[in-house]
């Protein structure tokens, strides 16, 4: 095993060993507290340009299988773990995680005090970082000095202001067919959804398809005409990487959807974009929510659900009571914060009262994570299939 080093933007360094590919990677460093689901995390496009620190010490125990990825590649910019598995143990495993990371060219580092690193990020906030190993760490056979490495980290672009959806979105539209209760394709879908891929996870169209919905997945560059061409009963905006304040095209598209009163559901980035379309601000959290154990209250039922999160930005909307959507003199009407994180009171969901639109900041599709919030897909289907889409009950 050879040496690798992790350099943080504020100058702190951690020495470790090569994990996955050797070389250099730069990105925003964030931590994920999930104890399971590394395969889903690695392939989640929302982690594009991020170096992910796993707080769970043992990573790779169940190897890599062909069923669990959330997209067709690993998206994380770098991977930081403490104790990588030497051997996979699962009847579904096809190869080891180490092999997979190396094959996909993902530069990782192992053997570092991930808890110390996490505490540092918690106190200082997320920041840019770089992992260096092999030739990237050496110059003429000598280890390069830290300040040289730090300069490279500081030269990397920051996450704030980054418009990244286009980098992760599908190039071509495709269809995920509706499924019947028997798991077979359904001839007559319950509804048709145009899902704008801003970094969509495979489980999302899957969850809709399981409910009898045909899903047209469209590229991030889709226009309102592309959306309308699918004759949608509803429009969906997915999760994705980047700063929502930079997503002008997507916000404009969403306003076109809202103006047509087409039922809308958004997840994660899609929630932030709904917030922006309605005229609320978004802001960057100190260190974000990334994990599978966040308690969120559904204010409609008063029940607490344990949810999967992956967000570094959040919507800034009034927590209590109804507010009027600020955009364009309030023409989108009243809005409530429908879901709230019980740990830190961050807005986790929005619901328009005068429009058939709602969204959540977290991941009801789970993968990885608990299935407590899967009911939100049912709400979307209800919203689309309700007799009168303007009926507030439908939006519930």
């Amino acid at each position: 095993m050879t040496d690798a080093v992790l350099v943080l933007e504020d100058g702190r360094t951690f020495a470790g060993r090569v994990y996955g590919a050797t070389g250099r990677t730069l990105g925003e460093i964030v931590f994920n507290t999930g104890m399971t689901g590394y395969q889903e995390t690695l392939t989640d496009p929302s982690y594009h340009r991020q170096i992910v620190v796993m707080t769970a010490p043992h990573i790779g125990n169940t190897g890599v299988n062909d069923e669990d990825p959330e997209s067709d590649r690993i998206w994380v910019a770098g991977y930081v773990v403490r104790d990588p598995a030497r051997r996979s143990s699962s009847w579904r495993a096809r190869r080891t995680l180490d092999e997979e990371l190396a094959a996909q060219g993902i530069v990782g580092i192992s053997g570092i005090d991930t808890r110390a690193l996490t505490r540092h990020l918690r106190e200082r906030g997320v920041m840019r970082a770089g992992i260096f190993s092999g030739d990237a760490l050496l110059a003429d056979g000598e280890r390069r000095p830290d300040d040289e490495l730090l300069d490279e980290v500081l030269a990397a672009p920051a996450m704030a202001g980054a418009d990244l959806a286009g980098e992760v979105s599908t190039d071509e539209a495709y269809v995920v067919e509706a499924l019947g209760p028997d798991g077979q394709p359904l001839a007559e879908p319950v509804a048709t959804v145009a899902a704008v891929d801003l970094g969509i996870k495979a489980m999302t169209p899957q969850r809709l398809a399981e409910r009898g919905v045909r899903v047209h997945v469209l590229p991030a560059t889709a226009t309102i005409d592309d959306v309308l061409a699918t004759s949608p009963d509803g429009v969906f905006f997915s999760n994705g990487p980047g700063d929502p304040s930079a997503a002008t095209h997507e916000v404009d598209l969403l306003r076109d959807v809202l103006d047509r009163r087409i039922p809308f559901f958004g997840i994660c980035y899609g929630n932030q974009l709904l917030g922006r379309a309605l005229g609320y601000g978004t802001y960057k959290l100190g260190y974000g929510h990334r994990g599978v154990n966040q308690p969120v209250m559904d204010r409609l039922t008063g029940k607490v659900e344990i949810t999967a999160h992956n967000h570094g930005f959040a919507v800034d909307a009034p927590l209590d009571g109804e507010s009027t959507a600020p955009h364009d003199g309030g023409r989108y009407g009243r809005v409530v914060v429908s879901h709230v994180d019980l740990n830190d009171d961050v807005v986790e969901g929005l619901r328009a009262l005068d429009l058939p639109a709602f969204s959540v900041q977290y991941h009801p599709e789970a993968a990885a994570g608990p299935h407590d919030a899967a009911y939100l897909f049912d709400r979307f289907v209800e919203l689309m299939t309700a007799q009168n889409p303007n009926d507030e009950k439908g939006a519930a």
Binding site: F14, A56, N65, R82, S88, N293, L342, A367, H371
Partner: protein, 1111 residues
């Protein structure tokens, strides 16, 4: 929504005595519950027969009843206290069963008492196999194919479909009692027969074998709004087939993908909802087929369980505390997470460390017992350790077991040839030492895949064991012990001692080398959230990593060393004393607890100011001390409250310069060393039985001849009478020495006999136990206990009474003077326990232990004085006079007889039912000098007969008040039984006796029915032997005293049959006398109940009255 306002008083039911499968985890949960309920302003009424618990300390409840947990007694308490509600989910299966019985008897309805935290249909659904199977089906899960049977014939029919092997599980028993795996018809008949007997509903489940599957547990909590959280997942390293209590377990689950884990979570949540657990915790066990991922739900416990305690300690999520809050109406989101202080309890803890639990067994106490691990739990305790990875946690957990041969080793060459073949063959059978055998097999080069095929232990875990072997090999091979080499070894859990073994050097040398390169562990925090939020609770564990989290402090710290895993001879009683020390010292000092037992109150993060969940070894304690010293001043360490484990570290810690509080290690040694102690006695003019020490067989024989047989022989430095025997002649002595030599050879010390202590055994002596406190000038006599059994029965297994029932004032005075002389002579500062034997008016000193004893909690409950608290303060520098002045100790101690004092009787609870020989019959139940009890109860009443009757009721369901009594005693006892047996006959018992005993009875005018001896076999017309009668349940009480040493076959068969039939058994004459008195008291009608608070108030009134009228 705040707590319910329609409830103002709650009855909490405890779990009774510590038994296998139900240990002090329920003291931990019950204590948390009582605390919460009191904080909520509720009146708490508590019932628990176990005096060694923290929960039965009077300050934890408003009315504390140390009374038998029976329907009759509970009804009396309910009638007296009229609680609004009963919380039955925190006292294990005992409390749950008690609540069901109260419901069935109509008591709940009659007195309008509501069950909270559970409801009867939910309990039934969760625990009744057939109903539960339906629940699982509704929830989209699968159960193993199974059949419910009520007779052996049903079982034989069912197995034709299910096939062998088949799993047998009786309904409504705890700790898997009576369950097992049948491989053939003979097994089936035996196990089902027992199971039907143990099941209160005479119901047994037969199940398709899922042996070898991966086993998991989830701990869930639900509130009244139907919010559910999964607190923890636990993975068993030993696959299905070994009871989870006997398995090495890991948290979190380490070999599941998210999809598989979520499937378990979904099923678990559906099950808790479908069963209808209203509020509180539940535990669900799963099996996962390793080749397909097929999930089978094994069972659920609709209550707080042993695993809940483990999960609470593993995650920092206090399940019992939160269960109590939910029971009185709160919802999860309304309860704060204590650890972060800023987030709610409605979340799922996430771990950035690995937790490993290792069970501790006591097979050495039951040499005849089959040591195969099965679905019946046999371990007596457990240790838990946390590490930043599995290997580190495993290494720490294994060394926490504090028992020879419990850690990985690399001694000698790896096994090869026939030896290896034999070893490979043994690992298929799960045993206490299997993991070490696995390590040796891997070390010898056997492939992980082959070991997996034989053991079913997941290859990931096996690879980790192999990793430890590789690290060990690298450590051994390194030219120099560099920082890198050492760090690698420490990161994977190797102790300094293990490194020393690998390097052929000493532990001290390794430590010096390690410290020289600046390699020390850091201390991380258990924070429930993987550092996502700041933690305010200093609950630490060591790890070899970069950053430490110990916060600086101003107040001087006192480190309290706990007692480690429960074992026979060292259990909850010592934890009790440690907790009291923490409570007493809080405020003035920063209290720092060091312990590794997850079942205890001491390892609750609320008990001390700081908690270090660490092994109690020299290395680990030293590092904790160093870390605390770096954080602020350290006043010292308390090593005398946690039993032998911390005591045995005292000298080394002192030598390393650590300040030991209280009795000095030299003084501890003086009391242990026979020569030194002999001098103390001589100077004080106190007689001790003649004794000697020997290190050879010749020496032992000579010493025994000089002293005169019978003698008591034992290795020096033991607790719980380990290896202690009464030897009646030279032949037996030779056998004993040979066994000791064999043991020494097993321990790698062939040819050396450990020093043997040989004492004159005092026949027919009254044994007296004393607990006292000494501050250097003054003695406080805490309690004087008179044993019911004669000397020779280990004090831990003997019943005893306080105040002493037959001692005179002058004898008490002699005891007090002798105790003081010894305390002064030894140099005690703190607690002292002395055992005396009174023979023909001579008071012999048997032994003195300058530490907290097993009886401290019993004495404290019986007298209302917390000796352990006072001891902690004395060790911290306060004087007894000072403690008297501040009201912590009363003016008068136990040397002043209070004529109206009630009598407390302590009775031991023995685990014989759990242990069977390989042939499946119970092991012998004769008491001896080696302690074998797992727990104790207290009977407390106005006089000895009633108190003794209560203790019998609490310990094992009580003595019969009518029926048939079988009497068969050794010749030497025949004289002493005439009066008690005559009284038994007068009380209405039919007396059965074998010929010899019948003749003696006849000559004294006592009619008895002669029954056939077992050895005589059945009569010509099939007349049954006594064993047949007992087995058929026709005998209600058996009196059988063994003749001499070495039970004759008849005696063994009789006792084994009695234990198997669950009938009362009396094995000493003294017990018989007490039993007859107790039967008479029990016949007089239902027991009256008195709370400890009432007892204490009455005692205070009597003290005032005595003070007002000087004698």
């Amino acid at each position: 929504m705040p707590r319910r306002t329609d409830i103002s008083s709650v009855l909490v039911i405890g779990s009774g005595p510590i038994v296998i499968g139900q240990a002090c985890e329920f003291d931990y949960s019950g204590t948390q519950a009582c605390r919460v309920l009191k904080e909520e302003g509720l009146r708490v009424v508590l019932v628990n027969s176990n005096p060694a618990t923290i929960m039965t300390d009077p300050e934890f409840a408003d009315a504390t009843y140390v009374e038998p947990i029976t329907t009759e007694v509970l009804t009396t308490i309910i009638a007296k206290e009229r609680p609004d509600a009963i919380l039955p989910t925190l006292g294990g299966q005992t409390a749950l069963n008690a609540a069901i019985a109260l419901d069935e008897a109509g008591v709940l309805e009659k007195y309008g008492v509501e069950l909270i935290g559970a409801n009867i249909p939910a309990i039934q659904k969760g625990e009744d196999r057939e109903q539960f199977k339906q629940v699982v089906e509704v929830c989209g899960g699968e159960s193993a194919r199974s059949a419910i049977v009520h007779t052996i014939d049903d079982a034989l029919a069912a197995v034709e479909d299910l096939g062998y092997p088949v799993v047998v599980r009786p309904s409504f028993t705890m700790g898997g009692l009576g369950s097992g795996i049948a491989y053939d018809e003979e097994d089936l008949r035996r196990i089902v027969g027992q199971g039907l007997h143990y099941s209160p509903t005479t119901e047994v489940l037969l199940e398709e074998s899922i042996l070898g599957w991966k086993e998991y547990e989830l701990e869930l909590m639900r509130d009244k709004h139907d919010n559910v959280v999964v607190v923890c997942s636990i993975e068993n390293v030993d696959p299905v087939g070994v009871h989870t209590g006997d398995s090495v377990t890991v948290a979190p689950a380490l070999t599941l993908t998210d999809r598989e884990f979520q499937k378990l979570r979904d099923i678990g949540i559906a099950v808790i909802r479908e069963v209808g657990v209203d509020t509180g915790g539940c535990n669900i066990q799963f099996a996962v087929e390793p080749t397909t991922g097929r999930v089978v739900v094994i069972e659920m416990n609709p209550r707080v369980s042993r695993s809940s305690a483990l999960a609470s300690k593993a995650t920092g999520f206090p399940i019992a505390k939160i269960a109590a809050k939910l029971a009185v109406g709160y919802t999860l989101d309304e309860i704060p997470n204590d650890i972060t202080g800023s987030t709610p309890a409605s979340f799922e803890p996430t771990l950035d460390y690995v937790v490993v639990k290792v069970p501790r067994f006591a097979f050495e106490k039951f040499p005849a017992a089959d040591d195969t691990l099965t679905t019946t739990m046999k371990s007596v305790g457990e240790a838990m350790a946390l590490g930043r990875n599995f290997t580190e946690a495993l290494g720490k957990a294994m060394r926490s077991i504090d028992k020879k041969g419990s850690v990985f080793h690399w001694a000698g060459e790896p096994a090869a040839g026939e030896e290896l073949d034999a070893l490979v063959a043994t690992i298929g059978r799960p045993t206490e030492g299997r993991l070490i055998d696995v390590q040796q097999v891997l070390r010898a080069g056997v492939e992980v895949d082959e070991v997996y095929a034989r053991t079913g232990i997941d290859p990931w875990f096996l690879d980790q064991v192999q990793l430890v072997n590789e690290v060990a090999a690298a450590t051994a091979a390194a030219e120099v012990l560099t920082r890198e080499v050492l760090a690698h070894a420490k990161r994977h859990g190797l102790s300094d001692a293990q490194v020393a073994q690998l390097r052929g050097t000493s532990e001290d040398a390794v430590r010096r080398a390690r410290h020289a390169v600046g390699l020390r562990p850091v201390f991380k925090t258990v924070d429930t959230c993987a550092a996502e939020f700041a933690a305010s609770t200093p609950y630490h564990y060591s790890a070899y990593d970069e950053e430490t989290e110990v916060q600086p402090r101003e107040r001087p710290a006192i480190l309290i060393l706990g007692s480690g895993p429960n074992r026979i001879g060292q259990g909850i009683e010592f934890d009790y004393s440690c907790v009291h020390a923490a409570l007493a010292l809080k405020g003035e000092f920063e209290t720092v607890m060091v312990n590794c037992n997850p079942e205890t109150v001491s390892t609750d993060y609320d008990t001390s100011d700081r908690l270090y969940f660490e092994p109690l070894t020299f290395e680990d304690v030293l590092e904790v001390y160093q870390a605390e010293l770096a954080a602020g001043p350290v006043a010292g360490l308390i090593v005398t409250l946690g039993g032998q484990t911390p005591l045995s570290l005292a000298q080394r810690l002192a030598d390393a310069g650590l300040p030991i509080l209280g009795t000095s290690p030299e003084a501890i040694d003086a009391a242990e060393d026979r020569g030194e102690f002999g001098k103390v006695l001589e100077q004080a003019g106190l007689p001790a039985p003649a004794f000697g020490t020997a290190t050879t067989l010749g020496g032992a024989k000579e010493t025994a001849r000089r002293i005169g047989f019978p003698v008591l022989v034992r290795p020096s430095y033991v607790l719980g009478g380990r290896g202690m025997e009464i030897v009646y002649d030279e032949h037996q002595l030779t056998e004993y020495v040979q066994r000791a030599l064999d043991n020494a050879a097993d321990g790698g010390r062939a040819g050396t006999l450990p020093p043997l202590l040989i004492d004159r055994f005092l026949d027919d002596a009254i044994e007296i136990d004393v607990d006292a406190l000494f501050d250097g000038t003054e003695l406080f006599l805490g309690g004087v206990m008179e044993h019911i059994e004669e000397a020779g029965i280990h004090s831990g297994d003997s019943a005893c009474a306080l105040p002493p029932v037959t001692l005179s004032t002058s004898e008490l005075e002699r005891i007090r003077l002798s105790t003081e002389a010894i305390a002064r002579g030894v140099g005690v500062r703190g607690l002292l326990n002395i055992q005396f034997a009174l023979v023909s008016d001579v008071l012999y000193v048997l032994e003195a232990n300058p530490r907290a004893s097993r009886t401290v909690p019993f004495v404290s409950k019986a007298t209302g004085v917390s000796l352990a608290k006072a001891a902690a303060l004395v060790m911290a520098g306060r004087s007894i006079a000072d403690l008297r002045a501040s009201g912590i100790l009363p003016e008068q101690d136990a040397s002043v007889l209070d004529l109206d004092s009630p009598v407390a009787v302590k009775e031991a609870v023995l685990p014989f039912k759990r242990f069977r020989t390989a042939q499946g019959v119970v092991v012998d139940t004769v008491l001896g000098p080696e302690m074998r009890s797992t727990g104790e109860v207290m009977g407390f009443d106005v006089d000895f007969p009633t108190a003794f009757a209560k203790s019998q009721e609490a310990a094992f369901g009580g003595l019969p008040t009518s029926g048939k009594a079988f009497i068969s005693v050794a010749d030497r006892d025949k004289r002493s039984i005439v009066f008690p047996v005559k009284r038994l006959a007068e009380l209405g018992f039919e007396i059965l006796a074998t010929e010899g005993t019948a003749a003696v009875l006849h000559r004294s005018g006592i009619q008895s029915t002669v029954v056939r001896k077992y050895s005589a076999g059945r009569g010509a017309d099939g007349e049954p032997t006594i064993v047949d009668l007992i087995t058929a349940g026709d005998v209600d009480i058996v009196v059988n005293t063994p003749s001499g040493q070495g039970a004759r076959a008849d005696g063994y068969e009789i006792r084994a049959a009695t234990t198997a039939a669950d009938k009362a058994i009396v094995t000493t004459v003294q017990q018989l006398g007490a039993a007859v008195q107790a039967i008479e008291a029990a016949q007089a009608g239902p027991f009256a109940v008195t709370s400890l608070q009432e007892h204490d108030a009455a005692a205070a009134r009597r003290r005032e009255a005595r003070a007002a009228v000087p004698a």
